[in-house]
Subunit: 311 residues, 4 copies
């Protein structure tokens, strides 16, 4: 038995790239945080510090920046360009490229823009704290594209219950038929290969918007008996609507809002005054998948082991 | 010469209060982070641990929660209620009550709500990371009301220059006639006493929205020769528009976006590819005030020493 | 083909538990952040909101707190107790229990303590920002114990080179034979079953201290030709020293410290003045494993897919 | 009445400077985060974007880095050098220079270092999360030096009570004669001019260490009837010990540790199992000063209005 190098990857993380499209007076801003990681035959650098095959992480950063000169398109297509570039090197047999995108909205000024549309041509205000995410994974089986979103904070002020759970020695939680349900949705969905190969930037952008809207609508409209039920319904709705999404995974904290007991002050509290607790929080994580004719879902796709945290 | 207790204050910080107005099926959510601090004759607890006069910070928290039972109104009016309540105690001669408010938007579902308006009746998504702020200060001279906003992140992709600055031994920055200008606006404005006394929740809400819009529009429309110029213009615009705002203070980091040098890769970069640096950042802070007939602005209002950081 | 629930888990995250051992005047403080997540047959709650089998996350929190009444021991043994408790329920077929531990040191006062030792008996100051971590994973194959550490920030001011890497169109990084090497070490090591079954709290504590010391010493003493080499050496040293550790994984950002160019100011800079960059950063991740007689390492242990991020 | 520029300052914030002293094989590392802000006649840039007098924030950063070439000494003396440099410019009439310092300890390797001392010569591990701070303030009256510390997290597991406070309609907190007392100490102390003028780097370093030790010892040894009492005792101890410290201000959150009610589980809890709450927290802030023969403390020193938050 001897000691050997196992799975490994390396790269440059969190390259903050802002691309301005200024071909007309009506600018567009694309604001990204990009991480590039390579896998392959990098045993020499680990064992002896021989860097002959090591594409420097600084070079990876430069490549990200240089590629942006031609435009970004969608985060998914930009990451695919990066992946294909690095995979040309023989020692690179796989990798992982990831992007977070921050939203910007045009500042409303009352004056029409260069194209007659609303909002300022080149002044922007940052939108919600939520982020759009994308990930391209490469291994021997080829390229896989995930899209996702992070920290979409949502809240229902009614239409949520939690009851019927077992009561053991350590159970004190009362049942409730009306509570606040709040979470920060993080989701990743995997496109099947046919979509990923054919889609252009506009397809990815449009699809992202459609999935985000569907997740929110489903959260809003389901009368929820458990956060698990909401999470599963959100995932199912996406798979039902889009046949070319192979599976989706969601990770949703239960951001507890406790009804404040106002009785000591001689007051009732009919679902109006809440304390928003920070920690601890519930944490609900689930994959929604497609089964084959045999009812089985097949082995786990290797991309998920690189995401971590919720399987 | 002897050792004595100087200025002091104490209270409960960051009470996370969520209030749901549910008198109709169309709920409203008010999401606040409230800090209550008292000043006065608290020498005994400091010197000997005699707590006879100490209104417990837990009691201050309870009071915040109990008062929310009657509704919040605007953050400014809610803080004024708290201030007046605590100031009744003889040992309390002053204090400071502060709120941050987080924005929620109705989830768009395509179905009209209970009042026929757009968006879901009781499902919400968190808006921008920016926060609305409010502060009530009490001292012997009475109550002072500040309103503000924090972390309104804005960016201009052109329309910003920086040149003409002196060059000494340590100057390497090139002049530029076209750069990205980006900042996170934090502002506090002080209402004069006449506005503060007369205003109801709707007045405060409306005024907040108007000041926010004016700050953004001014940032967008000014061709900027320095972030200082933008900051001063933003503050001036507010004072010009609203005679009952006595002064305004702004603190604005210069979130540097450096044009990436693509020449080593045989590429030009006509203002398109930027690196968004984190630290260090410029930091521009200024007050805009009104002068009297003698051109003087009078002594600094004591509320500012409790804000800190930018005077 | 139909839509089905895939892998899922749920629980309570970040239960902040502080346990004081006060059987003598010389108190001991154990400060933990604990997450409990269950896996098993939870289809009903996802599909229909039937919570009959759902051990409430609040109950999981209560259980953590109640179990602490008997003492914590080491984080590993405490998590094992929790795991075994929840696994008794028939619907629970697996799970994941995780702890972070924060260090406290006795405040030095010059007076000997109740046991004659140095430092105050019941007053403590928080130590380094680094955290000790532990994780127990349960699946059909039984229990697996990981131990680890997070954010152990280390720096070498010399004894680090980086050269010999390939130069392509996008390479601008100069080679260097003397640089600062700095990282925040995150590591997880997996105990083999024999150690995990036999070890008591003192064994886990002692082993943690020994592995931490070995990681640091190896980082310090290796003349580093690449961060990859340091990472691999650190992992190898642990496997060499401790036969009952099956494998170790490390994730190490390269916290770049750039030598400042002082030439414009007429100054040299012989490795003395550095700018500590934040983002982007390099990111080096590797597993160090044991191979069998055939040189193969066997399939990936399922625990790793729950860690994420660095395989 | 017209609109005018009020107080203002600008500069470069958070210059992360790492200085390695390598005159012998036994290196020393000084790790600082420095902010430089200037005040003076900067009306032109605000009103018209005329930058003739504006020492660029980039130049301020360069100056920080260039000055480090000669060594840092102590943070206080380094900031004084910067202040005196910038104050030479006629348009600069004041300013504010601030530093945070991060601690590094030598990695223990068992081998004596180049000077025979313990720990590695050039490999370091980051110490506690706490930071040493320093601030130099310049105005017409000259230079003022503050020293301080931030986020020194301390905890007493007994020796703390809280009772005797008034009970009103909103009071529910029970009295307690044994609780955990925990806080993150932030303190700033002001040296009188005679110390500030005469002190060299070693004096500042030694004094910092002595004040820190005294703050911790006092926290540890006082049987506390209120956090206010502990805070005042800590401040008083410093003024008593060091005649050349003019005043000290402390800001201390009360990091609540709530005794968990284990009765529902049939267990007692004699001060052993606690829940460490995050928000809300108490917040205790006080200045400790010297009074003159008339018992008065004189007007507030202008430096404090630039610190903010706790007076």
């Amino acid at each position: 038995m001897s000691i050997v190098l196992g799975p490994n990857q390396y790269g440059k993380a969190e390259v903050r790239l802002v691309r301005v499209d200024r071909d007309t007076a009506r600018h567009r801003v694309t604001d990204l945080n990009i991480t590039s990681q390579l896998r392959g035959d990098f045993r020499a650098t680990h064992e002896t510090g021989d860097n002959t095959g090591v594409i420097a992480t600084d070079t990876q950063k430069n490549t990200v920046q240089a590629f942006a000169r031609d435009g970004v398109g969608s985060p998914e297509t930009f990451l695919l360009r990066l992946a294909r570039h690095f995979l040309v090197e023989p020692q690179v047999t796989g990798g992982r490229w990831r992007a977070e995108q921050y939203g910007w909205e045009r500042i409303a000024t009352g004056t029409p823009g260069a194209d007659g549309g609303p909002g300022h041509d080149h002044a922007f205000v940052r939108g919600a704290a939520e982020r759009r995410t994308a990930l391209v994974h490469a291994d021997d089986a080829g390229l896989t594209v995930l899209a996702g979103l992070s920290d979409v904070t949502v809240l229902k002020s009614t239409g949520s219950e939690f009851s019927g759970f077992p009561r053991d020695r350590y159970t004190t939680l009362p049942e409730t038929d009306d509570r606040i349900l709040a979470t920060d949705v993080t989701a990743w969905w995997r496109y099947d290969a046919s979509f990923a190969e054919a889609a252009g930037p506009a397809d990815y952008d449009e699809r992202f918007a459609a999935v985000r809207a569907l997740l929110l609508t489903t959260f809003a409209e389901l009368h929820s008996l458990a956060l698990q039920q909401s999470v599963y319904a959100m995932g199912s709705a996406v798979l039902e609507a889009f046949g070319d999404i192979a599976e989706i995974r969601l990770s949703c904290p239960n951001n507890h809002h406790f009804l404040v007991d106002l009785e000591p002050f001689g007051l009732d509290n009919p679902g109006e005054v809440f304390f928003a607790a920070g920690r601890p929080y519930g944490l609900i994580e689930a994959a929604v998948q497609r089964s084959g004719p045999d009812g089985q879902t097949g082995p786990e796709h290797p991309v998920w082991s690189t995401i971590g945290g919720f399987v």
